[in-house]
């Protein structure tokens, strides 16, 4: 547990402060990412935390400042970026270097050899450090930081300038470190990396705290998915895309950056109109922190009085949407106000009344930490194989349905909650979005651009309302049970237990929630909940966005892959006529969604294969 309170680094003579009143917490079991541009004060913050620089403010590691810790290396591993790329003297051999540092730390030299194994440097341990690549340097520095077997890691830009492979390795390592209960605080410049790595993202802007968000919220509010299209006939395609409701801007010479329409649709559109495409790829761009007004930028512990009043007023008004509409599990302690929560307010109320019978359960703890820990534990250990493995096999309809969502614009939080009741917060949003895949034209007519969650929430509310009107009352514990899933379920709606009895068993027997969420976790970033995999045999790593968590979810991926291939066959021919018959019914319960998804996928497969 690191408590950072009021870190300030001010200079004399009117220079702007490098860091101004930075306060946040880094909790055990979580990866906290300090995100900011060059010169935002990330390195200064870390150096102030370990008191390598003079400044103001306090950093408490389990209640003590760094200097008070008797053997800091035993508790805190620090990797600070120095000006030099080398992890040690270039003429020294890696093993000698680590053994030397082991002596300085006070651990036996055997530990150095263990760490060389762990950081995959054992093979080159007897070579001089000067011959190492940047990734090896960084891994060696990490090994040095880990020498004392610390429980906390402070890493300054560990993946800066590394190859994707090394970056992935670092991410996997840090996540597993956090999973085992450690506290990890990492700085980075790349928002995509932050989204993939973090459980909590603290954004710095010019030395000031700009945002302190859970990663789901970060993904939703700060990351903006785009599709990059290149080709010779971009002007025509741009007209078509604008007519379809997308937002198009130029990107380079012969490129378009399209938001609001996902990749498969663009490819399909271009194919239909005979437009040649040279490139069609997803990417994620960062959006600046945009607050509707002066919202609190501290953690609440910094003593800003105005902050508290704002927060309380907002929390009262916003409590339903926090749990229902936005799918956010916010930490009440930090009191971070939801940026676009107010705008989403009117739209978000409706699913709150429709999808959930009662208000927010009083017993539910919106503890981000527990949720994250459970998430990774579920991913790594697979404690409930039926819910995890079996779910994707049935989930294909939903997956494809989500994939066919016409407006994936500001991505919903594709958080992968553990199979606990708290996880249901996401589902209401996603399901109607998927269901609205049928009603592509109408959904587009609502103009759901890249503007905000509020619009998406409004769109989300409609199908749910329609579904409720159809007489199917979804129990509150499963507000996300999609309408489209219900016909496929053998036991029917009435068999669902009450809100309080939902647990892992129930999820295993009734895999709707988990199956909705599993692909989302696999994707890692919510900007494209539709995993467009034209060829089942193609590996997932071929996806253009490298943001999915690596390694940890392999088995779920595989299960999903097999499930998809299983289901694609039988579902397709049966459902296809109906889909073509009534393509755009907005309020239709998503019964034909499943075939539509598979049909779309098979249709899209040609295009993707040709791209």
């Amino acid at each position: 547990m690191i408590q950072i309170t009021g870190l300030t680094k001010a200079y004399r003579r009117g220079r702007p402060p490098a860091l101004l009143d930075l306060s946040f917490d880094a909790r055990p079991g979580m990866v906290t990412v300090l995100l900011g541009d060059e010169g935002a004060g990330k390195t200064t913050a870390l150096r102030l935390m370990v008191e390598l620089e003079r400044g103001h403010g306090l950093t408490l590691f389990d209640g003590r400042t760094y200097r008070r810790i008797r053997r800091p290396e035993r508790e805190i591993g620090v990797l600070l970026a120095s000006g030099r790329p080398e992890a040690g003297h270039p003429g020294q051999r890696a093993r000698a270097h680590l053994r030397m540092l082991a002596g300085a730390v006070g651990v036996p030299a055997r530990r150095a050899d263990d760490l060389l194994e762990q950081t995959r440097l054992a093979g080159v341990a007897d070579h001089r450090i000067g011959t190492f690549s940047p990734g090896m340097h960084r891994r060696l520095a990490l090994a040095a930081a880990l020498l004392g077997n610390p429980s906390t890691l402070l890493l300054d830009a560990p993946t800066e300038g590394l190859s994707p492979g090394n970056e992935e390795w670092f991410g996997a390592f840090l996540r597993s470190f956090a999973l085992s209960g450690g506290t990890v605080l990492v700085t980075t410049r790349a928002p995509g990396e932050a989204a993939a790595l973090a459980d909590r993202v603290v954004t710095l802007d010019a030395g000031r705290l700009a945002a302190d968000q859970p990663v789901v919220e970060f993904r939703r509010t700060r990351l903006h998915p785009e599709v990059l299209v290149r080709g010779p006939q971009m002007a025509r395609l741009a007209d078509l895309l604008v007519a379809q409701g997308g937002q198009v801007r130029r990107d380079g010479g012969a490129g378009l950056a399209v938001s609001g329409i996902d990749r498969t649709e663009i490819g399909e559109l271009a194919y239909r109109h005979g437009i040649l495409l040279h490139e069609l790829s997803d990417r994620v761009v960062e959006r600046p922190v945009s607050y509707p007004s002066a919202l609190p930028s501290g953690s609440g512990r910094s003593g800003q009085v105005a902050v508290r009043t704002v927060r309380q007023g907002q929390r009262q008004g916003q409590r339903p949407d926090q749990q229902q509409g936005q799918g956010q599990h916010q930490e009440p302690a930090t009191g971070r106000a939801e940026p676009d929560g107010r705008a989403a307010d009117p739209g978000e109320r409706r699913p709150a009344t429709v999808g959930r019978p009662a208000g927010p359960e009083p017993g539910r703890q919106l503890d981000h930490r527990g949720l994250q820990a459970g998430r990774w534990a579920a991913a790594a250990l697979a404690p409930n194989p039926p819910a995890q493995v079996q779910a994707p096999s049935r989930a294909q309809g939903q997956v494809q349905q989500v994939q066919a969502a016409p407006v994936p614009a500001p991505t919903p939080p594709v958080q992968a909650p553990p199979p606990i009741p708290a996880s249901t917060v996401d589902l209401t949003r996603r399901t109607p979005r998927g269901a609205s895949a049928l009603s592509r034209s109408t959904a587009r007519a609502t103009g759901t651009g890249a503007t905000g969650t509020g619009v998406t929430g409004t769109g989300a509310a409609e199908p749910t309302a329609a579904e409720a009107a159809a007489g199917a009352e979804v129990p509150g514990a499963e507000p996300g049970a999609p309408g489209g899933e219900r016909p496929a379920r053998p036991d029917g709606v009435g068999a669902l237990p009450g809100p309080g009895t939902v647990d892992a068993e129930h999820l295993a027997a009734n895999p709707t929630d988990a199956e909705l969420l599993t692909p989302a976790r696999i994707r890692g970033v919510g900007h494209q909940p539709a995993p467009v995999r034209p060829f089942p045999g193609r590996p997932w790593s071929a996806e253009p966005t490298g943001l999915r968590p690596s390694g940890r979810t392999e088995h779920t991926e595989r299960a999903e892959r097999t499930g998809r291939t299983e289901q694609a066959g039988p579902a397709e021919p049966v459902r296809r006529p109906r889909e073509s018959g009534e393509p755009g019914e907005p309020g239709e319960p998503a019964e034909p969604v499943d075939p539509q998804g598979t049909a779309r996928r098979s249709a899209v497969g040609d295009e993707d294969g040709s791209e």
């Binding site: 003429g91 020294q92 030397m100 540092l101 300085a104």
Partner: protein, 275 residues
Amino acid sequence: MTVRVVASEVRRLRGVRSTWVVVAGALLVNAAVAAFTAARLPDGELAVPDAVRAVAAVVPFLPLPLTALAAAVLGALSYGNETRWPGLPASRVTLGRRLGALLAKSSVVGAAAALLAVLTLGVDALAAWSALPAGVDASAVLHPSGLSSVPFAAPFAAGGPGRPLVAFVVLAVAGGWAGLLITSLVRSAVVGILLTGALPALLEPTAGLLLHRTGRNWPVWVRELVPFQYGLDLVRDAADRTAGALDGVVVVALLAPAALLVLAALLAQLRRRSL
């Protein structure tokens, strides 16, 4: 803990190539200088100061003996490498750890310098003995039975060879420490080495002036081992040219700069957050 820190410093010294390059270079150059000096000795009976001069490989225009310079390089590198490539950047935040590291470094560098000095003396003695011209009679130095003026039983007496040789070793150790401490002030190994080389030339006039004011003189062996070029001109006309004893003023004159350097290094560490 302390033992481990010292062990880690030994590992640092051993693990770097520059250490071995410096040691080998110092030995080679020393041997060459010793052989050259010995080859140019005049015929006749070998005098003890000449023999000491040859074995210590004195180069007249150097501010410090070669061995002391090599030790200074070792000391400067042991500090400069750590500031340049801090393996654990945040591990030296507290003053106690920095002082402990400095102590460990100085002990390791001092031991290495003493070892290097002894090794150099041995190598130099071999080289000089093998390069002695045939006409030189070295029996006065080498064979105690043939001693006429200097009894070998008391090599540390006023005119014997023992005292300059011990001074040589001490000078090497002091050179290593000076390199370490000066580098700790400037944080750059190159600047530290250069300053260490310039230090005797800077300090010697003041020390010589102090001695001159108090009416004393450098011991003869100091002048023979450390061929200062500058300050000795000031004190050359002092009456007593043969003072051999280490009296208090001489000790103060020698130790005051060292104490000043140590104090400056400690003060610098007080102000810092890392080495």
